[in-house]
Amino acid sequence: MKISIQINEGPYQHQASDTAYQFAKAAIEKGHEIFRVFFYHDGVNNASRFTMPPQDDRNVVNQWAELDIKDADGNPELVVCIAAALRRGMLDESEASKNGIDGNNVHPAFRISGLGQLIEAGIQSDRLVVFGD
């Protein structure tokens, strides 16, 4: 079955991202397809490649990256909402150069895109599960 996930909260502050990750992992292990994970609101903070938790703590960002959720062409299907990301200082290379900022922090396993991607995930998937606070 095709399952998509929406995450509305950032890592380490709320349990939402951890629960969603465990859910996604279990779904993949059961042979389901995670079509897309959409990071919305504070959830965009799950995409920061600068996240440096202590050694004895889980790295939420890398955990998501290691799930390797991609489409058939190899494009990341960990999708970060562009409006939520830009206002929180989450930029990929293209958004940084477009806005004249000298750095970017979105992990390469994620991509920035628009809200249409959430709607499309809802249409294309058999199930959409929301995790938030």
Binding site: A26, K30, V130
Partner: protein, 98 residues
């Protein structure tokens, strides 16, 4: 439909709102702090009623993390994350009472 509730009923009234709203075929899965409502002494009578119909589940890992395994009310079924996935597959639309 599957309804997930992730807040303790001591913190928010989302479980009560959920119970007031759902139809006769819906099931409830308590996750995160929502599992607090699975403890005997935190149970509303409506939840007990739904549980006796086999329509209430709680996420095992979250129950254990909060130290309330021995207090989970009768008839509330514990599921792991694989069981969570099965509930999503089986019950169609998933509504999150966040």
């Amino acid at each position: 439909m599957l309804h997930t509730v992730n807040k303790s009923s001591f913190e928010r009234n989302s479980l009560q709102s959920c119970i007031n709203t759902i139809d006769d075929t819906s099931v409830i899965l308590l996750i995160e702090d929502g599992v607090i409502s699975a403890a005997n002494n935190a149970n509303s009578s409506m939840l007990t009623d739904l549980a006796s119909q086999g329509r209430v589940y709680a996420l095992k890992g979250d129950v254990e993390a909060r130290g309330i395994s021995s207090k989970v009310a009768n008839n509330i079924k514990l599921v792991d994350y694989a069981g969570f996935v099965d509930l999503v597959v089986e019950h169609g639309t998933a509504v999150s009472w966040v």
